[in-house]
């Protein structure tokens, strides 16, 4: 029946079945490709993938570092700082817009305009503003996720907080700042966390694209170079790590929201 619940065990089993189907489909694809060309490198077999795992974990003879360690550090540090700046900016802007009509009038048109522009397409602007190093990745992510995040905060601040609640707070003697911080911000928090979680995907796309173009380390860089050298063993291992990291981040943010806002109904 539509929307009827299932048991936890069934849920776990179905999840595992989903993963197995994907793994089987890949095995078949790789088998078929190796029938066409036994020395194929483009759809590696599981054995080749295992060699790829070895390659990304061993100490590289040229740089003296482990690829995966270098790249995880670089990419996730950029992602973290970028997302944190983006969320901070969005919350400030969104609350201002949700609370004051003048702010809304000032920022809303610009944000709607910027929301449709991929930041990777204006890389030259970032080059001029913040250079070609760490700051560029951070800005690219922050400005990439900000327009839609700020709008989410703004809508939530305007619609999710009933007027009575605000009047009640005033009656109890709260200042404007206290109303914003203790009432409006708290009420929008679960929406912000959910929106940030959903923006993780676009943020990753912007970051990988930027690393693809200018990176000398990081996931985008490694995937681009190794793809060019046709070492798909490494590329697929990196893709699996990316998928896994996405899954973990997602789960972590859902947990965080439940912890911080237990009152929020999903």
């Amino acid at each position: 029946m539509i929307r009827s619940p299932i048991r936890y065990r069934t849920r776990v089993i179905l999840g595992v079945v989903g993963v197995l189907v994907v793994a089987l489909a890949y095995t078949w694809l790789s088998y078929r490709q190796h029938q066409i060309n036994p020395t194929d490198q483009t759809i590696p077999t599981w054995q080749q993938l295992a060699a790829g795992v070895g390659k990304v974990l061993e100490v590289d003879e040229f740089s003296g570092d482990r690829w995966l360690v270098t790249d995880v550090k670089a990419t996730f540090y950029r992602l973290f700082v970028g997302m944190a700046s983006g969320v901070f900016l969005s919350v400030v802007l969104g609350l201002l817009m949700g609370c004051y009509s003048a702010m809304e009038a000032l920022f809303h048109p610009t944000l709607s305009f910027l929301a449709k522009i991929p930041p990777t397409a204006m890389m030259a602007v970032f080059f001029v503003l913040v250079g070609i190093n760490f700051e560029m990745y951070v800005c690219m992510i922050a400005f990439g996720v900000m327009p839609s995040l700020a709008q989410t905060v703004y809508l939530s601040a305007r619609n999710d907080v009933p007027d009575e609640l605000i009047h009640k707070s005033y009656t109890l003697g709260a200042s404007q700042a206290e109303v914003i911080w203790n009432v409006i911000y708290k009420q929008t928090l679960p929406k912000v966390l959910d929106a940030a979680r959903l923006q993780m995907g676009p943020a990753m796309v912007f970051l990988i694209a930027a690393e693809w173009m200018v990176g000398a380390e990081g996931f985008g860089y490694r995937i681009k170079i190794q793809q060019r050298l046709l070492d798909m063993r490494v590329v697929y291992v990196y893709l699996i790590v990316l998928g896994g990291a996405g899954f973990l981040l997602d789960t972590a943010l859902i947990r965080l929201r439940r912890r911080l806002c237990p009152w929020y109904a999903e």
Partner: protein, 346 residues
């Protein structure tokens, strides 16, 4: 629903008929935008060949084979070739090593060589000694890095004193033009070299590939499996024939400018004059004799030995592919045989 199914059925039968229009075996050649490779796109425009599946131009009629042209970016071209999706591809001698390890390959035609088309462009740096310690941006593990390292060698510099740092060539050119405080030196290829020099007046070429002519070679490579299929050798012949017929059009005074314009049309926003400069720096092997001289000469053997050593030293290949010059059974073969066959039939 019924109508949709009918339409689908009609579409399927029609496409079926279309490919049956020519009974000749069809082979796919993938090319990316580069002067000596755009030749194939222009050959299609000028109706020497018909790049569509199932349709034959005069050259395809002559060799009784159907050439299917596929244009894509350079990197996807390499992946498509390696995964057996296409039969032949345009790539450089250095980039041919990795695909050859997975799919035995035959280089059938050199199209051009870089004589200045890859260059180290700098702002405010006038000597290679000043370059020490400055990050030089360019595409890692590509001909750019090769050109950089070879020039350092020739200048007696130590590679370890220099910092070659990865950046996409288009991004590197933009970075140098917009933020030369941080990006002082780049190694890129054309059209980025010429565009950068044009856009930034204080940029200069510190060194370029004119010191290493015939070491960076653009060429057409076919999978051995495709050559072994019926009609595979005719496909090789037709591709070579088309290349030289278009070169003849470029050389003829009546059609020369027009053809060059067509070649440059999608390459960049450079003018006809500037395109003349570009094809000087990307020197075409415009005659069969020039091509055979390269493929059967001793210099190529020396070059490839160096290139393979470079690729092994820089982690570009896991192991060295075997290479031979003739009709051997190695991973990668350079063969002038197909060019000779076309020459004989003229």
């Amino acid at each position: 629903m019924k109508r949709i199914l009918l339409a689908l059925f009609a579409a399927v039968t029609l496409t079926g008929c279309d490919s049956a229009a020519s009974n000749q075996p069809s082979f796919t050649l993938a090319w990316s935008e580069y002067p000596s490779w755009s030749v194939f796109g222009v050959a299609d425009q000028k109706k020497l060949i018909d790049g569509a599946k199932g349709k034959l131009g005069p050259i395809e009629e002559k060799w009784q084979v159907d050439i299917v042209l596929r244009q894509a970016d350079y990197d996807p071209c390499l992946s498509m070739f390696a995964s057996n999706v296409i039969d032949a591809v345009c790539m450089t001698n250095m980039d041919a090593l990795n695909p050859a390890l997975g799919r035995r390959s035959v280089a059938i035609l050199p199209t051009s060589t870089s004589v200045g088309a890859d260059a180290c462009v700098t702002v405010g740096i006038d000597s290679v000694a000043q370059l020490r310690g400055t990050p030089v941006y360019g595409l890692e593990k590509s001909v750019s890095e090769y050109c950089f390292v070879r020039n350092l060698e020739l200048l007696g510099e130590k590679e370890s004193d220099h910092k070659f740092t990865n950046m996409d060539p288009a991004a590197a050119a933009t970075a140098l033009q917009t933020n030369s405080a941080e990006t002082k030196a780049i190694v890129v290829w054309n059209p980025f070299v010429m565009q950068t020099l044009k856009a930034k007046k204080d940029a200069k070429v510190l060194f370029d590939s004119s010191t290493i002519p015939e070491e960076i070679i653009d060429m057409v490579v076919i999978g051995r499996d495709a050559l072994d299929k019926p009609g595979g050798d005719r496909f090789a012949h037709a591709v070579i024939d088309a290349f030289y017929q278009l070169n003849a059009m470029m050389a003829a005074p009546a059609t020369g400018d027009d053809t060059l314009k067509a070649i440059g049309a999608k390459f960049s926003d450079l003018s006809l004059e500037e395109m003349r400069e570009v094809v000087k720096q990307t020197r075409f092997y415009s005659t069969p004799d020039a091509a055979i001289r390269l493929f059967e000469g001793d210099k190529l053997k020396e070059t490839m030995t160096n290139v393979v050593a470079f690729c092994v030293d820089h982690g570009i290949v896991d192991k060295a592919p075997t290479i031979d010059y003739g009709m051997g059974k190695s991973d990668l073969t350079f063969s002038g045989e197909y060019i000779r066959a076309v020459q004989a039939k003229q």
